[in-house]
């Protein structure tokens, strides 16, 4: 809508001519000027300028829907649209699985099982609907060259032995995964740009980016500090819009880094309690997500994978649907398995913390 040409908006002729004469061709050109500057550009009075802005705004504003219409659409498309993870506890907590049309993030230290989780999701999206899958293709953006078809098939064979006994199914499933290995951010954005078409053409039912952070850290070394956030912002809005318009689940992984002393975690009005009780809550090795707070704002669901008390846990750290719960899990030859489907309620700063204690530190 933002790039809609003014000429297609059916404005009153005198306004259309005025804008065309000043080379204001799109809604963006007109609306990103403050009123007084627009008056200067148009060399017009206040009533004319306001009329032009009102007309352009009405044309460029996206249509309004009621929440009820959204709900009905959701129901028509099949129960809100989820990709079930087959991890029963997690699916229940997320209201059925990974939501379609939204951005879901998996964050955790390296080696904890993020890629294992992604492989399992890729497999599930590729499986025929008859077996609970989405019967679609998967775009797997593999920035760290970690994708392994063999491992994915192994997960499949161990989790669904009865299905994978079928001749050629494993090959068929693996063939449905389109793996891209971009070498630079420019490469990545280019493939993303071409993707909307691809998605429609190939019945893609899942997009995985493993890992987003690796791609960004690649770029950070080149870019100057001030410019650093910019490509990330762009990629972020783009990925979100892909999720939304293709109505598919998008899963991205994020790495962790250790927290430096400079990281602000308090508002100025909280100052007096900064030195007090909060120190006690700091965990022995405190990690934070590599992509910063802006990224965290943008994801709809955040799953934190962490290890402490001798176990690995996956934690629903942010979700509009459910309170924060954690599930202990293990990585087996059949992929990720929950040790218990009964979630442990998590409260307070624990929700957002990411812990990584060696597996040897067993429960006392």
């Amino acid at each position: 809508m933002a790039n809609m040409p003014i000429s297609e908006m059916r404005l009153p002729p005198h306004l259309a001519h005025l804008l065309a004469a000043r080379r204001l061709d799109t809604a963006k050109d007109v609306l990103s000027l403050p009123e007084v500057e627009l008056m200067a550009v148009l060399d017009a009075g206040l009533p004319t300028t306001r009329a032009a802005v009102a007309h352009v705004s009405e044309a460029a504003c996206p249509p309004c829907q009621t929440a009820l219409a959204l709900l009905e659409e959701c129901v028509r498309l099949g129960g809100g649209g989820r990709l079930a993870t087959t991890l029963r506890g997690l699916d229940e907590a997320l209201g059925g699985g990974i939501p379609m049309g939204k951005l879901t993030e998996v964050v955790g230290p390296s080696g904890i099982g993020k890629t294992q989780f992604c492989l399992k999701l890729a497999l599930l999206a590729a499986l025929p609907e008859y077996y609970g899958g989405l019967d679609g293709r998967v775009v797997y953006i593999d920035t760290e060259s970690k994708f392994s078809s063999r491992r994915m098939i192994e997960i499949g064979q161990k989790s669904f032995p009865q299905i994978f006994r079928q001749e050629g199914l494993a090959q068929k499933m693996a063939g449905r995964i389109l793996v891209m290995r971009p070498t630079s951010l420019a490469d990545f954005t280019k493939s993303l740009e071409q993707m909307k078409v691809t998605l429609l053409q190939h019945d893609v039912k899942l997009l995985i980016v493993d890992s987003m952070a690796a791609l960004m850290s690649l770029e950070n070394e080149k870019a100057t500090a001030g410019f650093r956030q910019h490509p990330l912002r762009w990629a972020l809005s783009f990925i979100k819009s892909i999720a939304e318009f293709s109505r598919i689940p998008v899963v991205v992984t994020n790495q962790v880094r250790s927290q430096s002393n400079d990281d602000g975690y308090h508002f100025s009005f909280e100052v007096d309690r900064k030195d007090g009780n909060n120190c006690a809550e700091r965990f022995d090795s405190h990690l934070i997500a590599a992509l910063g707070i802006q990224w965290a704002h943008a994801v709809t669901v955040r799953l934190v994978f962490e290890s402490h008390s001798g176990h690995r846990f996956m934690k629903v750290a942010k979700s509009p649907m459910s309170p924060a719960v954690a599930f202990p899990f293990v990585v087996e030859s059949s992929g990720i398995t929950l040790l218990s489907d009964e979630g442990i309620d998590v409260t307070g700063p624990e929700i957002t913390s990411i812990r990584c204690q060696g597996q040897n530190v067993l429960a006392r």
């Binding site: 809508m1 809604a27 000027l33 705004s57 504003c61 049309g101 508002f267 009005f269 707070i293 955040r302």
Partner: protein, 282 residues
Amino acid sequence: MSFVYGAQNAWDMLSDEQSQKHITTGSGDLNHILGGGIHCKEVTEIGGVPGVGKTQLGIQLAINVQIPVEYGGLGGKAVYIDTEGSFMVERVYQIAEGCISDILEHFPHSHDKSSSGQKQLQPEHFLADIYYFRICSYTEQIAAINYLEKFLGEHKDVRIVIIDSVTFHFRQDFDDLALRTRVLSGLSLKLMKIAKAYNLAVVLLNQVTTKFTEGSFQLALALGDSWSHSCTNRLILYWNGNDRYAHLDKSPSLPVASAPYAVTGKGVRDAVSPNHKRVRVA
């Protein structure tokens, strides 16, 4: 007798203000520090770290504004401008159900009331009165805010406009920061005008960012200092130990204060004792 056409004297404004109802947040403690709830004719900014419950509170307000007049509400409608795609309609349905069950609990005799009242108390009815705009760029956001003036003229029963979040697109892709400041200050004045002219509450959800002040990094709301002046009230949501807290940071009429709140399966409610086991969402 007036010096300027359309101006009002403070006495008349006081009686107007006293007859105003406020939009409940769902939490009594939160309402208390806000002087009864979210006020109409004012712009309230709500900020906080990711996952603390900004969108939850936004959805809650979109539902609560619709509580019928006979149950102590405003009986208004809501406009929800979603810039981030975080509006989950199933969750809205749950919160509407939670709101209705609370109403029925407080008014146990409402079952005897006329069938029209019963019809109103359906989650579907609540959802039908939320006008939803999905915004995908800052241009669309500016367009939507401009268009609101006309839209609200045609939908006079709207009592709240929620923008979730006001920040997203302006942080993504606006390069000229000086121009961004000018455009944003223009927008904030338009929102002020809408709030006043249509007697409704404008609620802006804002993200946080880190800012270097007084020798250390601290959390601050996004979009810079210039934007920080452009709201009537500011509420900051944060974690205090294990609890969610809200801090009223700015208000022309109320003292600076903090209060705990909780996000439950039914929506935003009072925080109860720390040992309370949270309701699981089925």
